[in-house]
Subunit: 207 residues, 2 copies
DNA sequence: CAGTGTGAAGCACTTCACAGCC
DNA sequence: GGCTGTGAAGTGCTTCACACTG
């Protein structure tokens, strides 16, 4: 398949969310115009994004809400459950795992790990925290697909390496700093400091 | 000033973090090559990014770590304190406000608000939670620069409107969905669901 | 006639390559 | 000789515009 831009994938997420809203409101068709309006983009962009994957609409009529939602779910791989381990039994991981949309979209927490021996064995959002040293051994039974890395900055690369050794192919990272993963492993970093600094820049340089 | 790409600002953040590391290690000069290596980009990109704001290096020698760090801090507007209010006394806001780099880079929490009357008056990370209805009245005295919006999906736009009425010009939003702000107000959204779906797509469509 | 699908044009960010200075 | 600063070339995402179809 042709390489798909990251921005395209992000917009598909947004379209899907709006399609779910339309479903809840009992509406059965929509248009690229309407999707664009509610997703902060243009009708041409919506059509182009969808055209990478096929033709899901009908000329003169628009798109079937139900069909398009199913198609986008398939494209994004949301048709089945993804098994997630959380590394770092802190607030960020907890916020994520208790977030409604998390479970709702097929992401299931199958394990929680921490380096701190004081946290090991304690309950945390319905899970028992395990020592992160056991991750590689546990992985065979847990079969996790995704690791959420929510630990302080120190030693993040070491934890990334451990996750990779455990055979996990996707990482959502909340720690700052440059991290290296081998080819075949996808790493996405959410850097809140960077976002705040972007706001600082905007405030400083506004006209 | 010429319009600066968002991606440029984000990279400046990364360069600054590495410059701080060099400072801690007592090193006084660096090069575009070294900065690129540790920031996941190319030397040409580093030089181009910096060239938008001036010439901070010396040909044949490289950059002074101390000088470049100061320059980037100035560019990003990190030279002074930014006053932050947190809307939503939950886990995300708490994770952010207790994050070390937050205070360290000049972001200070000056108020915490929640819609839930059960939370009002309670202590939260050293602050007393106030009813969000009082935000507009409080703003005159608090003089907040930035609002962090960390509430569930329902009624987010209403809170954005309130923040705008309170005269705040920058919003860091953690709620999903499309939000509208008037010109002159900067909105940055961190959407964890979207990041997870990006991972799901990558796992589904890997070769 | 309304609205999709898509090649072509436009635009913006990145990379190249080299002149210029230390 | 080493490394920056920068116009020019390259690349890839976005927007346009229109043929096409229900």
């Amino acid at each position: 398949m042709k390489r798909i831009a990251d921005s395209t994938v992000r917009r598909l997420s947004v379209y899907l969310r709006y399609l779910e809203e339309l479903t809840n409101r009992g509406l059965s068709t929509t248009s690229s115009d309407e999707l664009a309006q509610h997703s902060g983009t243009t009708p041409a962009q919506v059509r182009k994004d969808l055209s990478f994957f096929g033709s899901f609409g009908r000329r003169g009529l628009g798109y079937s809400v139900a069909e398009l939602a199913t198609r986008i779910q398939d494209i994004l791989g949301l048709g089945h459950e993804w098994r997630v381990v959380i590394i770092g039994a802190g607030k960020i991981g907890s916020a994520l795992s208790t977030y409604r949309g998390f479970k709702q979209r097929g992401f299931t927490v199958v394990g929680v790990y921490d380096k701190d021996p004081l946290k090991s064995g304690k309950r945390w959002d319905g899970h028992v925290v395990r020592d992160v040293e056991t991750l590689e051994a546990d992985a065979a039974a847990l079969m996790p697909d995704i690791a959420v890395l929510a630990i302080p900055a120190e030693g993040v690369q070491g934890e990334v390496d451990r996750i990779v050794r455990a055979g996990i192919k996707a990482i959502l990272n909340f720690a700052p700093g440059r991290l290296h993963v081998p080819p075949g492993v996808t790493l996405k970093t959410v850097n809140m400091a960077m976002e705040l600094e972007g706001l600082s820049f905007a405030l400083t340089n506004r006209d």
